[in-house]
């Protein structure tokens, strides 16, 4: 009996030393990962900062696959040529097997088709929302190398329809931003409204930076909808809603998450936003999301409220976890395959921080799988590399926003299922 314990103890000691040994040797090598993000744009910089934050946490936990991680960051200038060239340089000159980015779908797509897929590099985007990626994946042209942590517009759109249904609106007019996100959003929400029996009176594109949206707003007003749905950004959203209200439009509004902004609330005025309801994908009600928020606030001294921050964190963390799971010297395809092992719903839950990463390393080292509990939720990719997410319905208050209701992931999935 004593002998047995003794042997176990010495085995434990040896194991511990071995772990120490690997941790020590982890300092000696560096693995590079690439990031192509629009750092020359104001909202792009925090996304890159958050990615670096995740890398720092992993390095604190001893690095991934036995090596410290160095994130080589390149600016895309939101120019496809520049982004593609930067990505190619990262793959060829720095030898990266993992590419984080880009933000704009119009930049991510040519990187995917001309750099990462031909080069066998895994690409994980925080923020590209275009449905074109789903189409490309369905055609088998992404070769399983493409992932994104930005919940597709499907979640937002479905919840928007649910709000209209719950509020009992009979007809809705849609105003959408005239870019890839807005066009997708406008088309999907129209289909979802029809699916729940809400009539769509009209669907109008709103171009950026127009001095006035009177023509568009008047056109929407003429159809006399019970409510309007707004898939707009704060600047043109403010302008359009001001004209809408001043022309006597209804104050029943459903807002996409892009309007969850103090700028919009202040510039439109709270007195007009009393019956506005917004939708958003949500952090899960889990400890890991709170841990992320706390860690983020400790590091940056502000709430992680900008667009794409939680998504950027998760993209980086999952990529690094997959590198850990795939082991040293893995190819991009092997790392992409390992993503399933770190986002396995049946796996051991791990939190989104250094301790969680260390725990994941132990589980993966023992041949197990882990379920990454991320900043955007219990992230699970479907076969096309898309994620679903829990959702919230929110409304404005005098000081910010408040949650009206919360729909966990399974309810969201069930509702989306009922629409199709």
């Amino acid at each position: 009996m004593f002998n047995h314990t003794h042997r176990a103890a010495s085995a434990g000691l040896a194991f511990g030393l071995a772990v120490l040994g690997t941790t020590a040797s982890a300092q000696e090598c560096t693995t590079k990962i690439g990031a192509v993000l629009p750092t020359s744009v104001d909202w792009g910089r925090p996304i890159a900062e958050t990615a670096q934050f995740a890398v720092d946490q992993v390095n604190e936990a001893g690095g991934a696959a036995g090596c410290q991680i160095e994130m080589v960051l390149r600016d895309t200038q939101v120019d496809p040529k520049v982004g593609v060239d930067a990505a190619k340089a990262l793959v060829d000159l720095e030898g990266v097997k993992v590419m984080l980015g880009a933000v704009s779908s119009g930049v991510s797509m040519p990187i995917l088709t001309s750099v990462t897929v031909p080069g066998g590099v895994m690409q994980m985007s925080c923020c590209s929302s275009s449905t074109a990626f789903t189409g490309l994946a369905e055609e088998g042209k992404t070769e399983g190398l493409w992932f994104r942590t930005f919940a597709t517009t499907a979640v937002q759109s479905a919840i928007g329809a649910k709000v209209a249904q719950d509020q009992g609106y009979g007809s809705v007019a849609i105003l959408y931003k005239n870019d890839d996100w807005g066009q997708d959003m406008g088309r999907m929400i129209a289909a979802d409204f029809e699916a729940v029996g809400v009539a769509v009176t009209t669907s109008i594109a709103i171009n950026d930076a127009q001095p006035s949206y009177r023509a568009e707003v008047t056109e929407a007003l003429r159809t006399q909808p019970d409510a309007i749905y707004l898939a707009l950004y704060p600047a043109e959203g403010t302008a359009a809603v001001r004209e809408w209200i001043s022309l006597g439009g209804t104050q029943n509004m459903i807002l996409a998450n892009s309007l969850k902004s103090d700028e919009f609330r202040e510039n439109v005025g709270m007195q007009y936003l009393g019956s506005a309801l917004g939708t958003d994908t949500s952090s899960p009600r889990s400890d890991s999301a709170d841990a992320f928020r706390a860690a983020y606030m400790a590091r940056f001294d502000s709430e992680p409220n900008g667009p794409g921050l939680a998504n950027s964190y998760d993209a980086t963390m999952i990529a690094l976890l997959a590198m850990e799971a795939a082991g040293p010297d893995a190819t991009g395809a092997q790392i992409a395959e390992a993503v399933a092992r770190v986002t396995d719903p049946a796996g051991t839950p791990v939190t989104a921080d250094a301790a969680g990463f260390a725990q994941a390393r132990d589980v993966l080292g023992g041949g197990g799988t882990v379920a990454y509990q991320g900043a955007t939720g219990n992230v699970q990719f479907d076969v096309n590399g898309d994620v679903s997410a829990p959702a919230v319905v929110w409304s404005f208050t005098e000081t910010g926003t408040q949650e009206v209701s919360y729909l966990p992931l399974d309810e969201v999935d069930a509702f989306i299922g009922s629409l199709r």
Partner: protein
């Protein structure tokens, strides 16, 4: 090592494609004096035309004609040429800055058309799913990129030789005559309007060729590829290289694109980690400084136009 070569091939492909576009602009501005402020429209027409004609079938917009690649590329060039012809008929009476503003407007209108007309070219999502020619035979790797580069290089050389012949010919002399003094050219019985239109359409077809190759190379094109920035970049290449000199146009394309990418690479490589986040903005400052510097100290470009006397008289007889 193979990585460096692979990257250089990739870089040179993009630079060569841009060089073809700069050559097209050089025929218009350098040789004929037409201020085309809408370079991207013709570049974009070529790219969209090629991908729509040669691509796989797409739900929801035009495409899936599956033409053989050379035909698709030719189609893209014809699309660019047709557009140039229509635009030219309408605007070529305009001079200099007025023409620049009109063509700039055409480019913005083209971008907006592509962004909005989802039935035409997928709207903001762009045209995807293009199968690059011979990809199934050659795979996706380095060999493919190398052969693609050689093909682009051959096309670049062909365009260069064509333009060199053209500007050295009597027709080229006429273009310069129109550029320098239209009335003088007209007084000799030439038709400046027709010459301007011919040069404008020819240059735009070359821009369309560059666009077609660009779309092929990325297997994708979206409205984001045809923003006014590209017009600016191609103009910067021509100004720095030397307007009126075809070799200067090519040199300028390689130089500016090289500076554009190398500055990004160098900043990400050598700037300290804390400064990394700001290197993107810094890069814009650097590029701007280079262009301003060029304009101040060498406005004729690095390889200025060589004025040639195309027909020499007899050498003076030696006494």
């Amino acid at each position: 090592m193979i990585g460096v070569i692979s990257y250089l091939v990739f870089f040179a492909t993009t630079a060569s494609i841009l060089a073809i576009a700069v050559l097209g602009l050089n025929l218009q501005w350098g040789n004929t004096g037409l201020f085309n402020g809408g370079v991207v429209a013709f570049f974009g027409a070529g790219a969209y035309g090629t991908l729509i004609l040669g691509g796989a079938a797409q739900a929801g917009h035009l495409g899936g004609y599956g033409l053989a690649y050379p035909l698709a590329l030719l189609g893209g060039m014809i699309a660019a040429g047709l557009m140039a012809w229509i635009v030219g008929l309408l605007t070529l009476r305009l001079r200099h800055d007025y023409l620049a503003i009109a063509t700039f407007g055409v480019a913005v209108a083209f971008e907006n058309l592509m962004r909005n007309a989802e039935w035409l070219a997928g709207g903001a999502k762009g045209v995807r799913g293009f199968e690059r020619p011979l990809r199934s035979a050659l795979g996706d790797g380095f060999i493919y990129n190398l052969l693609f580069f050689l093909a682009v290089l051959l096309i670049l050389i062909a365009v260069y030789l064509f333009l060199e012949r053209l500007v050295a010919s009597p027709f080229g002399r006429l273009l310069r005559a129109v550029r320098e003094d239209e009335e003088a050219a007209a007084s000799l019985g030439k038709s400046p309007a027709r010459l301007r239109l011919t040069a404008f359409v020819t240059g735009s077809v070359i821009l369309g060729l560059a666009g077609g190759l660009y779309g092929t190379f990325y297997a994708f094109v979206s409205p984001q590829d045809i923003l006014p920035t590209l017009t600016f970049q191609i103009w910067a290449m021509l100004i720095v290289g030397g307007a009126g000199n075809n070799r200067g146009a090519i040199f300028g394309a390689f130089l500016i694109w090289g500076a554009w990418t190398a500055s990004g690479w160098a900043l990400s490589r050598f700037a300290p980690v804390e400064a990394q986040l700001y290197t993107g903005s810094l890069q814009f400052v650097l590029i701007g400084c280079v262009i301003v510097g060029m304009l101040m100290w060498r406005p004729q470009g690095l390889l200025p136009e060589r004025l040639v006397v195309s027909q020499r008289g007899k050498p003076p007889s030696v006494q």
